[in-house]
């Protein structure tokens, strides 16, 4: 046996060998230490339930009314646009085009032609009920933020803006100041709406902007997708993510994407200047708020591309790759520690896709009370 060979070095060699082996074996353990994440940068599952503002509790009646309004082009100047024209359930409650096409257009999503070019990409309605949510699950639905520049503070307020907007719904049929009154009067002349408003808000209720906003907001609060595979994983189902997706989750955290994309919605709901390239279709550069735009959610991106406020990136991989040479204009961006290696990007993209949840309300009404085409001019 070699151990008896007189030429072998002394026994100390074998002791050394054993020590080397044991020190390698003890390098790692079966319970690795997780990357430390400060509480305000942690990510996690969405809550099971939505909070509604005190003055607009969600009721089935309001939701049904809101759904009708959401689909009815009667809210638009030329009876051609409904909310759903740009936020369609078949397209994940958005329109899958870089920049939305508004008044005067025809068709839906990629098939849409004509229409006024809107300067921004349409975000999804899914989970907007949770806008502003923090790590503790807290948010005030009557005082949060909506739009890429955070200019609207509740779903109630937000839903009146497209009605007033010339490009999105109003056209040149009336002025922005007249819009809500004109639309309210139109609704008051349709018996089915009068009945629906009475059921939702009490007998002899007056149809006005406040109630239109409340009904649409109540409906939007039911467009929820809070059971993605990531949510299941975060709630304790270890089998919900595969190794590649967990790699992506860890890489996402390690790269400090969570400096901004954090909380249950993967957004801090703050404004940042990332220096996203311009979309050449736009005649004028959109500067947001001093060059800043709000961190968007990373949920349900499978159906909400193209990406960024101006839809300048066609796919998730290019949106993630963008962070490689990003200019650093704020403290949160300075935390980025992103390795632009193809394998890391692929893992992060795989992880972001686990935030998709296709199980949201996709109901398409057969008709709307105005009798107009459901969803506006969406069939070519």
């Amino acid at each position: 046996m070699i151990f008896q060979n007189i030429n072998t070095p002394p026994n100390t060699t074998y002791i050394f060998a054993l020590l080397i082996i044991s020190s390698i074996l003890s390098l790692n353990s079966c319970s690795p230490e997780a990357e430390y994440v400060p509480i305000d940068q942690q990510v996690g599952a969405l809550p099971q339930f939505v909070i509604a503002p005190n003055d607009n509790p969600t009721t089935a009646e309001k939701v049904e009314l809101g759904r009708k309004l959401f689909w009815d082009p009667v809210l638009s100047g030329n009876f051609d646009m409904a909310c759903v024209t740009c936020h369609h359930p078949n397209n994940g409650y958005t329109d899958n085009i870089d920049l939305s096409l508004g008044v005067g257009g025809r068709g839906l999503a990629q098939n849409r032609t004509g229409g006024i070019l809107i300067k921004r990409n349409a975000p999804t309605i899914i989970n907007t009920a949770f806008n502003g949510i923090d790590q503790a699950g807290n948010y005030d639905p009557s005082n949060t933020v909506h739009f890429w520049d955070n200019r609207s503070k509740s779903l109630e307020d937000q839903s009146l803006e497209p009605i007033k907007s010339m490009e999105e719904m109003r056209g040149d049929a009336y002025t922005a100041d007249e819009a809500i009154n004109v639309v309210s009067a139109r609704l008051a002349a349709i018996p089915q709406y009068v009945e629906l408003f009475n059921i939702a808000f009490g007998d002899d209720t007056q149809i006005n902007g406040d109630k239109i906003g409340k009904a649409i907001a109540a409906f939007e609060r039911t467009i929820i997708a809070n059971n993605s595979r990531f949510d299941q994983y975060a709630r304790g189902d270890e089998t919900a993510l595969n190794a590649q997706e967990i790699r992506g989750l860890n890489a996402f955290i390690e790269a400090k994407c969570t400096a901004c994309h954090n909380g249950p919605m993967f957004s801090d709901y703050k404004l940042h200047d990332l220096g996203v390239p311009n979309n050449d279709k736009l005649p004028q550069i959109d500067n947001g708020v001093d060059g800043k735009f709000r961190t968007p959610t990373l949920r349900n991106l499978s159906s909400s591309g193209p990406f960024m406020h101006n839809g300048v990136f066609d796919n998730l991989t290019s949106a993630v790759n963008f962070y490689d040479n990003m200019e650093v204009n704020d403290d949160d961006a300075a935390q980025l520690n992103f390795e632009d290696e193809a394998d890391t990007v692929a893992a992060i993209v795989a992880f972001i896709q686990t935030l998709n949840d296709e199980d949201f309300d996709k109901t398409i009404p057969e008709s709307v009370p105005s009798g107009l085409p459901v969803g506006g001019n969406i069939s070519n």
Binding site: I2, N5, N7, T8, P9, T12, T13, F16, A17, L19, I20, I21, S23, I24, L25, S26, L27, N28, S29, C30, S31, P32, E33, A34, E35, Y36, V37, Q42, V43, G44, A45, Q135, Y233, A234, G236, E238, L241, N242, A243, Q244, I246, R247, G248, L249, N250, A251, I253, E254, G263, P264, E341, A342, D343, T344, A346, A347
Partner: protein
Amino acid sequence: MNSSKLTFLILFISQLCFSQSNDNQKFQLGLQSNYFLAGELNATYDISTGIEAKYFLKHTEKFHHFINATFTTDIGTTGANLFVYDIGLGSQYDFLQLFKKPLFFQLNAGLLYWQEYFSTQLIEATISNNTSQLGFKANLGIGYRISNKLNVAVNASQFNTHGTTIGISLHYSF
């Protein structure tokens, strides 16, 4: 660098001082250090270290056939640990004599069993998970016998379809 890694390094260096001449070289014990170049594993790990045992079945003039077994683990990763055990067959081919010592190619391939442990800090909970899998491993290297006791080599290894590494190894013969 944590203390166990430091001890390991010190021990390894002192180990090198023990080279003595020995012709009866049936066993080799080696250390490897690998850098992840590509593949899924590359998204999580940068470097790994391994210990390899080789048993030479047959020495011909130029060919040396062996059985090998390796244990590989990652270094310096947070949130994940990798353990790879593999066993295989291989050959070493001396193609050139340089300063009276052979320069050789080596090729070996075999089966691997791999385990990974993950840990992630999420809101209100740290989620842990693990996976294990069987697969193949292949290794191609070019090496030099710097003394009767010591071989150095540069290797490219493939861990299943999930990772490609390049690295260096040092083997001690006895």
